[in-house]
């Protein structure tokens, strides 16, 4: 397990967006325990994520090894929040919220979108990928800031399915 910042951030995000009160992982002698106050909200809605304490690092780190624990936990979260889906980045690159710096963002929190709509651009090596939303629903949360680096499979949006 790689105890880097990215890994920890993933854990924090996961805890935030889940109904779990606590996550504890032990591997190779290192133990992490994260906890949060019990959410007061309706169970099917995700708790508003706490802003990460650190800015997202500018450089792309070598892809952190996702442990089996992590995958298992993700599965748990996804099944618990049946109405909430994550839109993940299909590639490593830079996230752009709008088609050009002056243009309006493709989507903002609270927007209802139809499947097939473009929701952002991920740029890598001057290949501009228009990312389409695969489901119809409402944008509950945008997890990445414009112009920041994203990793493969990093969650970009939380969407509440119609």
């Amino acid at each position: 397990m790689k105890m880097d910042l990215n890994y920890l951030k993933k854990l924090i995000k996961m805890l935030d967006t889940s109904e779990l009160a606590e996550i504890e992982i032990e591997e190779e002698g290192t133990k992490i325990r994260l906890s949060k106050p019990r959410p007061k909200m309706v169970a099917s809605l995700p708790v508003q994520a706490v802003q990460p304490a650190q800015p997202v690092p500018q450089q792309v780190l070598t892809e952190a090894e996702v442990s089996k624990n992590l995958i298992k936990m993700q599965e748990n979260i996804e099944t618990k929040n049946e109405n909430i889906s994550e839109i993940r980045s299909p590639m490593v690159g830079t996230y752009y919220s709008s088609p050009s710096p002056d243009a309006e963002a493709y989507v903002k929190t609270g927007d209802s979108i139809k499947a097939g709509a473009v929701i952002c651009i991920i740029e890598a090596m001057k290949l501009m990928n228009e990312i389409e939303c695969e489901i119809s629903g409402k944008i509950v949360k945008i997890l990445v800031e414009n112009g920041h680096a994203v990793e493969y499979d990093q969650p970009l949006f939380l969407i509440e399915k119609d």
Binding site: V60, A124, M125, E130, G147
Partner: protein
């Protein structure tokens, strides 16, 4: 050496169509909005909204340069490498045709071509749906050919073939050569390890000192290029932290030689 005309190449490589525009907003935009099929080639004498990355304007004097979009569907798992293929094809076409000496043409990561250290070719590719196996790319290529004067803002950064070689080139002939090379070498676009190896050898970037920035809103930092990865990413050993040597791998951003 005479090359085949563009219409001969169109038939020889079974392309769909060549569309010529006197003036258009952007060849990429036109191809995308009209969902043109693979094998289409869009050429313009002028683009009113030509653009580069970060929405930077791509400036080009009417009728003087190459402005084109190739629409090509390719089954690939590493879509970003299409730009390495396109830049290598243009680089090869230019270096086969013109001898510019040691300080002549150079590939700049990720896919610019420089002449005398100044930009002569820019490439920007758009992809609509990354999740399909067969991906349709709109490969936009701009090459400065016969333009002598550039606006003040890019005068020190841009050049053209005519500025270096002191003679005008036949634009149609140059396009035909590029398309011929593009079609003839297409297998290389699928062969990642060969492609990155060829690109690496042509670019000779390792050991070069550069300034790197992720985009227009971030600060630049300096370092030394330590390699180009097989997936096209650049590795830079940054020298911003005193006493700490840190290698970082980037998939996006811009380098400038210092």
């Amino acid at each position: 050496m005479k090359t085949d005309s563009l219409s001969e190449i169109l038939i020889a490589y079974n392309l769909r169509a060549v569309l010529y525009f006197n003036s258009i907003d952007s060849t990429n935009k036109y191809a995308r909005e009209n969902n043109l099929p693979s094998g289409s080639l869009i050429i313009a004498a002028e683009q009113t909204k030509g653009r580069g990355r970060f929405d930077r304007n791509w400036e080009s004097e009417k009728g003087s340069n190459i402005l084109l979009t190739i629409v090509k569907s390719i089954r690939t798992e590493n879509p970003a490498l299409i730009n390495f293929y396109a830049s290598y094809i243009v680089y090869k076409t230019l270096t086969d045709l013109f001898t510019a000496g040691d300080n002549g043409f150079a590939l700049k990561w990720p896919n610019d071509i420089l002449l005398d250290g100044r930009k002569i070719c820019g490439i920007l590719t758009e992809l609509k749906n990354i999740k399909t196996d067969r991906k349709k790319f709109y490969i936009g290529i701009g090459i400065n050919v016969n333009q002598l004067k550039f606006s003040e803002s890019i005068r020190n950064k841009s050049t053209s073939l005519v500025k270096h070689f002191n003679r005008k080139s036949d634009i149609s002939d140059l396009i035909a050569r590029i398309i011929k090379n593009f079609c003839e070498n297409i297998k290389l676009a699928f062969d990642y390890s060969s492609l990155t190896e060829i690109w690496r050898k042509a670019a000779k970037l390792e050991g070069k000192r550069v300034e790197f920035r992720l985009n227009d809103t971030t600060e630049a930092h300096s370092g030394v290029i330590t390699g180009i990865k097989d997936d096209g990413a650049i590795e830079i050993e940054s020298d911003t932290l005193v006493g700490v040597r840190k290698k970082s791998v980037y998939y996006s951003g811009e380098i400038s030689f210092i």
